[in-house]
């Protein structure tokens, strides 16, 4: 596989991982600065999720990773949604 092929493979694996993921906060690191909410292209109030220690669930988040990448405190990460939960979520939204 050439360079392009491996890049493509990387992108494919990444988008697959992201599609099945959700953003999870570690509240003990959060300082409520709001950089995450400010940079979310869908206007999701990620900061409010971090305050409550709740994952960003639901159909709106496109798992673009912007909030995860921009948070200066390492509060946010992607977590794989367990299959059972994924099914419930996709039925709900």
């Amino acid at each position: 596989m050439g360079l392009l092929g491996s890049l493509f493979d990387y992108e494919r694996r990444r988008s697959k991982a992201l599609a099945a993921g959700r953003v999870v906060p570690d509240s003990s690191r959060c300082v409520q600065c709001g950089i995450c909410s400010f940079n979310c292209p869908l206007g999701i109030d990620v900061r409010a999720h971090a305050w409550r220690g709740e994952p960003v669930n639901g159909g709106h988040c496109i798992t673009c990773g912007e909030c995860v990448a921009r948070c200066p405190r390492g509060v946010l990460r992607f977590e794989q949604i367990p299959h059972s939960l994924e099914r419930i979520l996709s039925n709900t939204f």
Partner: protein, 439 residues
């Protein structure tokens, strides 16, 4: 109906109010704040200075959300406690009665000690007004002098650089933040600052700040004179030499204080019904009898929540967690967890504790320290009695959540100590292997 009164609407005050409301839907909750802005993210001010955030984004709650919580907000400064009458007196003479009182007044910057410090153009960074003032001055200033240490000093340095101001950073001794960082870590940060165009002046102290009249006849900062007599022209001077808990309100009351307001593990002061939380509070550890200061946002939130629950009649013990701060120093992400200060080395640039700092980081004796030092990404682990007690992680943060957990859960890392000390195996590999193989 119980009347809850909270002085200060910062992280601790707001968290307490929200918690009281969760437990008591009908209680009267009044927050007194001298700042006109209400509840905002104080650490976020650093990103306001670097243009990463607009001011409007600093507020975690909208006015409607605050209204929905049913919080009465009073803008004004509390000047006196009447503990006998259970009232707080405001500057304008108003008296507010309470059944339970929370003091959440935070900490304030130590005022600059040099002659000329009250000239317009000399700034500290405590609040949104200060940040706005810095931005306003930066618009006109060509050159600034920054003195002090810790995170706040660097946040100001980077904010000013982002605004296009030339920065001279004065260090009193040989290196940056010596009470927490090793010489190598300090050097790394200093090298990056220099690379960003910041001019660091070692072993340099301000003797006095000199002013000059402008064309409108107003005196403004024009230069600093160093203790060894050098003159440096500048239009602003920023000072971050530490903070002190704000104890004005409790002076001349029976409420016991040390450096902060002393509270027990339920956050109650020596006067029943009066609580304290956040930067102003000093929580006594019942095991050691010691009380350390933290100036950390998540600590203020946790203490506010515990105080709020106790005020609402739900007995709640506050347990101090392992202090943690993730910060950016000279563009590098740095995580500090637990006890990391190697020596009790006094810090030349800080006269008290800094913001985003914890006294726990001053370190404990008889520890083993292992390092992995690369050009930018480095890890330092502090180990005592086969347990990780502290860590500094610079640059790549992949390891940081893992290390945080190992410290918080006091995991026995005895089996991997030899591997950690081996110069040939990266620390990251050893730890990952340890955790993946179910320890």
């Amino acid at each position: 109906m119980a009347r809850h009164l909270i002085i200060g609407m910062g992280a601790a005050g707001f968290s307490a109010a929200e918690t009281i409301r969760q437990h008591c839907p009908d209680a009267t909750i009044t927050l007194v704040t001298e700042e006109p802005y209400g509840y905002y993210s104080r650490p976020g001010l650093a990103y306001l200075l670097t243009n990463e955030l607009p001011q409007s984004q600093l507020f975690p709650r909208s006015e409607q959300e605050l209204d929905r919580l049913g919080l009465e907000r009073v803008t004004g400064r509390a000047v006196c406690l009447d503990l006998q009458a259970r009232q707080v007196v405001l500057e304008d003479g108003r008296r507010l009665s309470y059944d339970a009182l929370l003091l959440a007044t935070g900490a304030a910057a130590v005022p600059p000690p040099f002659p000329g410090a009250n000239l317009p153009g000399v700034v500290t960074l405590d609040n949104l007004d200060d940040a706005r003032r810095i931005l306003r001055l930066a618009r006109k200033a060509k050159t600034a002098v920054v003195v002090g240490g810790g995170i706040t000093a660097l946040e100001i340095v980077e904010g000013l650089r982002a605004q296009g101001v030339r920065v001279h950073y004065f260090l009193r001794r040989d290196r940056f933040w010596s009470s927490v960082l090793t010489p190598e870590e300090s050097r790394l940060i200093e090298r990056r600052l220099t690379h960003e165009g910041v001019q660091i002046h070692y072993r340099t102290e301000i003797g006095q700040i000199l002013g000059k009249k402008d064309w409108r006849g107003r005196v403004k900062v024009a230069a600093v004179e160093t203790k060894d007599g050098k003159l440096l022209r500048c239009q602003m001077v920023a000072v971050a030499i530490g903070v002190r808990p704000r104890l004005e309100l409790v002076a001349d009351t029976p409420i016991q204080t040390d450096r902060g307001i002393l509270v027990n593990e339920r956050l109650e002061t020596s006067v029943p019904g009066v609580y304290a939380a956040g930067d102003v509070a000093q929580v006594v550890d019942p095991l050691t009898g010691q009380a350390q200061l933290d100036v950390l946002w998540p600590v203020a939130v946790a203490q506010g929540r515990a105080a709020g629950a106790n005020m609402a009649g739900v007995p709640t013990v506050y347990r101090k967690g392992v202090p943690l701060n993730v910060t950016r120093l000279a563009g590098l992400v740095v995580t500090l967890i637990g006890a990391v200060g190697r020596r009790r080395e006094p810090d030349g640039d800080l006269v008290t504790i800094a913001r985003g700092d914890s006294e726990v980081w001053r370190g404990i004796p008889d520890v083993l320290v292992v390092h992995d030092e690369h050009e930018i990404n480095r890890q330092r682990l502090v180990i005592k009695d086969n347990r990780l007690v502290g860590a500094v992680i610079v640059g790549d943060q992949t390891l940081s959540p893992l290390v945080q957990r190992l410290i918080a859960e006091q995991v026995d890392i005895g089996p991997i100590l030899p591997a950690l000390q081996s110069p040939h195996v990266p620390i990251a590999e050893v730890l990952r292997h340890f955790v993946q193989n179910g320890r």
